[in-house]
Amino acid sequence: MDKKTVIKVDNLSKQYRLGNIGTGTISHDINRFFAKIRGKADPFLKIGETNDRTKKGNSDFVWALKDISFEIQEGEILGIIGKNGAGKSTLLKILSKVTGPTTGSIKAKGRIASLLEVGTGFHPELTGRENVFLNGAILGMTKFEIKSKLDEIVDFAGIERYLDTPVKRYSSGMMVRLGFAVAAHLEPEILVVDEVLAVGDADFQKKAIGKMQDVSKSGRTVLFVSHNMSSIKSLCNRGLVLNNGMVDFEGEINESIAHYLSFSKNTSTVEKIVANGIEIANLSVIAGKNNIISSGGDCTFHFELKNTTLLDYKNIRVVYDILNEKGIHLFRLINQNDTDVLSIQENGKIYVSCTIPHLPLNEGTYFLSLRVKHGNTFLVNKDNILSFSVNTADYFGIGKVDKHSGSVLIKSSWRYND
């Protein structure tokens, strides 16, 4: 079926100025003005670097987004994924017309409603009812539309008793529920949602995700930003991965999540982590035979632990979490499940290795999170610190395991009695 393109983003870029806006501003403005009347390009647009937070740049200007192009079809739920500072929020801001792009364009069919925050414009002195009307109108509904949906909204938010109480007396959860309820009853062709689901209890989150799925089933388009891979996964059907203001990957949602989890950590060795008086070096995944990690083979996680303090650390806990490429936590390995206690003396060095015999993982890419704990404090707490690939093998002794048999392979015995 040929689907209609509803949003077309073309070479979109956004430049931000770093540092303070102050004394330099007037002179920049004057420079710009003279460049303009002489028919030259803006002198400050040229300089600018990619938005890598971690490195110190030379210029005062950065590109929060650079030459972003993509298209969205009608009825798609696009999950926008990326690290902090990758440009997700900037992209949403431009889409919701809160700020304009520096260059490039966005073209869209239909109304765009954005939900970058719930309860925008709520006035604490006004009652819940008054705020529903105010917030609805800010989001672009008419008074008539709101009136006809008021009962539904109140019902969805579950705050009927408090409807005529000023919202300053509401709990924060009630405020969020009311705000989301209003937004959920918008009927735009395109809905732009930032991480608003991070608030509210589990019950409400479920309700909210259900509501957004309904929205897309009715043929409308949703753009959704979240750091929560499981809500992205359950909601979206396509993904857009941003990195340093550029499109890194675009495609099917599971592939996008896998790509997001793997980029920048596609090495199977982490050279050094220095934290809280300890040093971890050469964290790596080592295969048993022929140096290939495969289903059913042995697999060892190994690192060197150095104590750089003058204290003795007794009973250090090491925890590995294994995640699959969809970001789902499969299982945990804890050194306390074993008998020996790991202690390290001042300035000591110990090789820590953990072996899984007969690795019960199917073909695919997996991620390792490492936590090192002493007492109640984390010495190291790193999510998805490295990834490793597992190759297919004859795990069950009945031929190669099918890729679609799930991430974890478990042997089972069956009995058939008459």
Partner: protein, 287 residues
């Protein structure tokens, strides 16, 4: 395939530059409910948890007028154009207050609403328009008070009597002029303050000083000739004088001044809309 796509099929086009002169009244109209809700919010929220509520709107001009009456008229001996001093000051203050509160609040459009503007798009012009509208309610209350004072002086004071005359139908003109002037100037100031906060201080200070040159407490006729020729170029002073001339008939309406103020208004409004349009797209980055 490519050729089949029609470019004009897009409903929304987001681009770096927009046409600076588009007022987009269609969009303003689409958000008309929001305008009314903002007016209501301003009115309801301002006096919540006060005992006197909107009566404060009436207390303010009475006390201010009385202060001027006592200091300028009684002690300073400055004449009031043959009108009872209280009426003179109160009539001036009624239109002046409308202008000054509208201007100071519209000038705060971007700064005060940055949290909302940063999260959702709606026609930005709605906010300044709601300000001049909600101030109309205050104006109406204060105008009612003025009528009450006129009636009081008419029946109690032998030196003054109010005359009905056909020129009273012009009464909306000074109000519209004040609305337009405060909107135009407010749009300019608010757009510039997103980058240069200095203007915010200059404005509060400037508005205070401007009152003395706006015929609010000393009429143009009682100003020495030397200053009068300067003050005549103040569009606000012309409007204040117009309001008095219509309502209290202390002197004939000077249409020249009215035309000047109107032209001034149109120029300011034009400039205001241009800078406002230029600012609204990117002010979130500089505010």
């Amino acid at each position: 395939m490519k050729e089949m796509e029609k470019d004009d099929a897009w409903d929304i086009v987001i681009e770096p530059k927009s046409n600076l002169l588009t007022l987009n009244l269609k969009e303003v109209w689409r958000y008309r409910d929001l305008l009314l809700l903002f007016v209501r919010r301003d009115f309801v929220a301002e006096y919540k948890q006060t005992i006197l509520g909107p009566i404060w709107y009436l207390i303010q001009p009475i006390f201010t007028a009385f202060t001027y009456f006592f200091i300028l008229n009684k002690m300073g001996g400055i004449p009031t154009d043959g009108i009872p001093p209280m009426l003179f000051y109160m009539s001036g203050l009624t239109v002046w207050n409308y202008f000054s509160t509208s201007l100071t609040k519209t000038s705060d459009t971007f700064l005060a609403n940055a949290p909302t503007f940063g999260k959702v798009y709606f026609s930005r012009l709605i906010v300044p328009l709601s300000v001049i509208t909600s101030n109309l309610i205050k104006l109406a209350l204060q105008f009612g008070l003025l009528i009450f004072f006129i009636a009081y002086f008419h029946f109690q004071n032998n030196n003054y009597s109010f005359n009905w005359h056909w020129q009273l139908i012009f009464l909306p003109i000074p109000i519209i002029l004040m609305a337009g002037l405060s909107l135009g100037l407010g749009l300019i100031v608010t757009s510039l303050t997103t980058k240069y906060r200095d203007l915010k201080f200059a404005l509060t200070f400037g508005v205070q000083l401007l009152m003395y040159g706006s015929a609010v407490i000393i009429s143009l006729n009682n100003t020495p000739e030397k200053f009068k020729s300067i003050l005549q170029w103040n569009p606000i002073a012309n409007v204040v004088e117009l309001f008095r001339a219509i309502l209290l008939a202390n002197h004939p309406i000077e249409w020249q001044g009215v035309i000047y103020s109107t032209v001034f208004l149109l120029v300011m409004l034009l400039i205001g809309i241009v800078i406002f349009n230029k600012t609204e797209k990117t002010f979130m980055d500089t505010v």
